[in-house]
């Protein structure tokens, strides 16, 4: 899949330590390094508490890294702030786990989807047309524009969330357990949609997921995290068939 040798996203020695009152510091992410190549889809597998979501939040710059560096398109974004951070977000978008909670309950879906377009200076009429196009791109009709999040199903809401994420044509998409809260039939549809869009729009993807089967199905390469550390990395098929680490073995054995 590598189209050229420079990684789109490069994470080096990333560490996050949470200070706690009266208790020893909690190391959520411990010296994590990985590269995501152009067009690649990298899966991060781990259970709750493994630090995988903290990694995503640091890359998306919602929280500061304690140490280490994050490079996006050759630019160091570890400490990006203000306007330069907004620039980062034009290249990198995110789909969250809980579809309903990722939409403002008092805004119409269409308004939420178009928010980034409005912020980038597009005129109101163009925004409306573009949002309608985006809705159809993710398999929703224009009827969904004026709906509120609680008026649609979880799957429809997640489709809208994907539409919002791709609205400004980011080069990089982070999916943080984007399909975990969905029913199986909906999950497979959303996975198919994501796969199509990533291919069509030539996006690079960081796919965070606790379901190793899903990562095997969806990703080109994968890393396994436990207690904030990377315990295994490689092609998902190789990891599943020939796990090296004891934790990975247990994880695979537990899949029913």
């Amino acid at each position: 899949m590598n189209k050229n040798n420079a990684p789109i996203l490069s994470v080096k020695n990333l560490t996050k330590v949470f200070k706690r009152h009266g208790q020893p510091d909690f190391i959520a992410v411990n010296d994590v390094s990985f590269d995501v190549m152009n067009g690649e889809c990298l899966g991060i597998i781990g259970e709750s508490g493994s630090g995988k979501t903290t990694v995503a939040n640091m890359i998306a710059r919602f929280i500061d890294a304690t140490s280490g560096s994050i490079t996006l398109f050759g630019e160091d974004i570890t400490h990006a702030k203000g306007e330069s951070l907004k620039n980062v977000w034009r290249k990198m978008q995110m789909v969250f786990q809980m579809p309903m909670e990722s939409f403002d309950p008092r805004m119409k879906l269409g308004e939420s989807i178009g928010e980034s377009l409005v912020n980038s200076g597009m005129s109101a009429g163009d925004v409306k047309n573009e949002v309608t196009r985006l809705l159809s791109l993710v398999g929703l009709s224009a009827e969904f524009y004026p709906r509120y999040p609680h008026e649609v199903s979880g799957g429809q809401c997640q489709r809208a969330a994907i539409a919002r994420a791709i609205a400004i044509r980011p080069a990089m998409l982070i999916c943080d357990e984007a399909t975990s809260a969905l029913d199986v039939t909906v999950q497979s549809e959303v996975i198919a949609l994501l796969r199509r869009l990533i291919h069509e729009m030539d996006m690079t993807c960081l796919f965070i997921c606790h379901d190793i089967a899903l990562v095997q199905h969806f990703c080109d390469s994968a890393i396994v995290m436990q207690h904030g550390k990377i315990v295994e990395r490689g092609k998902p098929g190789d990891i599943v068939r020939n796990p090296q680490d004891d934790y990975t073995k247990m994880l695979i054995d537990s899949v029913l």
């Binding site: 977000w89 995110m94 609680h150």
Partner: protein, 307 residues
């Protein structure tokens, strides 16, 4: 009580018996369900209409008065209710009905402006504290605690006393002790809303702080604040009347329900209507505001709104 298993229990069932299930005889029991209709909307309209009527009366109070509420006529002082003076007259011969109606203007609009002021001030401070956090939050919230540390009405009396009475100083005194409640509600709601996933989504879309606060935070924290303020109007009306009753609010001869009760309290045994008329007016308007607030809360909570 025993935790031992019954080892004699039948072994796991064979699946073969399943097919017999659908051939069960006997018609199934039918149970009737009584669906309670929720009439939240009807209640909201009803009390909303009453509230509107009250506000219209308060706005054009003078023109509803049958007599001039300030015209003294000692010849007819202290009359019992009659066809001409339904609530009788006070000791200066002023028509009580006219005075009660005229007083609605001061009583209602002073409480409304008081509640509007504390809602805006408290909410603004609360949002700033919740959003910024840090030292500013600590300082403002400790200030709020300070205002809450005094017994409310006593503190308001002191403030009103220092400022020298008048309805304006009563309003300011009550505002000083009431804003922290709104600041606290707004702050805690802001703290929870800013952690929601949609806040991160909004930031990802490139919206700035001001836009996020106005478009995303304010609409999502407003419901409890509006409901609190609606329910507060009644309370504030009573407290203002209380301060006026104590002589720290509206000054005679201005018609105000609290001060009218204070003026006429000595007549309680002889002309009770002179006390009960303004008292009843307070009771009715407080009830209307509270019941409207209740209906509004139910309406704004989608879970109570029903289908």
């Amino acid at each position: 009580m025993t935790m031992e298993n019954n080892s004699t229990q039948a072994a796991a069932t064979t699946i073969s018996s399943i097919s017999s299930i659908s051939t069960k005889s006997k018609t199934p029991t039918i149970r009737e369900q009584h669906v309670k209709k929720k009439n939240v909307k009807a209640r909201l309209f009803f009390f909303g209409a009453l509230l509107l009527a009250l506000l219209v009366m308060a706005s054009f109070a003078e023109s509803f008065c049958p007599y001039d509420p300030y015209a003294q006529n000692l010849d007819i002082a202290l009359q019992a209710p009659s066809a001409e003076h339904i609530f009788g007259t006070d000791r200066y011969g002023r028509d009580m009905l006219s005075r009660v109606i005229a007083a609605s203007h001061v009583s209602i609009f002073s409480s409304l402006s008081l509640v509007a002021a504390i809602t805006i001030i408290g909410t603004t401070i609360g949002i700033v504290c919740g959003w910024r956090g840090g030292r500013l939050d600590t300082v403002l919230m400790r200030a709020a605690d300070m205002f809450l540390a005094f017994p409310g009405l006593v503190f308001a009396m002191a403030v009103a006393g220092v400022m020298g009475g008048g309805i304006m100083s009563a309003v300011i005194a009550l505002a000083a002790i009431s804003w922290p409640k709104y600041a606290r509600v707004a702050r805690s709601k802001t703290l929870s809303v800013r952690e929601m996933a949609y806040m991160r989504a909004a930031r990802l879309s490139g919206s700035g702080t001001l836009k996020i606060i106005v478009r995303h935070i304010l609409p999502n924290i407003l419901t409890p604040i509006i409901v609190t303020s609606m329910l507060d109007i009644g309370t504030m009306m009573m407290e203002l009347a209380g301060l006026s009753f104590l002589g720290l609010g509206a000054k005679p001869p201005i018609a105000e329900w609290g001060s009218m009760m204070s003026e006429t309290r000595r007549l309680l045994s002889t002309v009770p209507i002179a006390v009960f008329a303004p008292g009843g007016a307070i009771f009715v308007s407080v009830m209307i505001f509270n019941l409207f607030g209740d209906a509004l809360r139910d309406y704004m909570d989608p879970k109570r709104r029903g289908r």
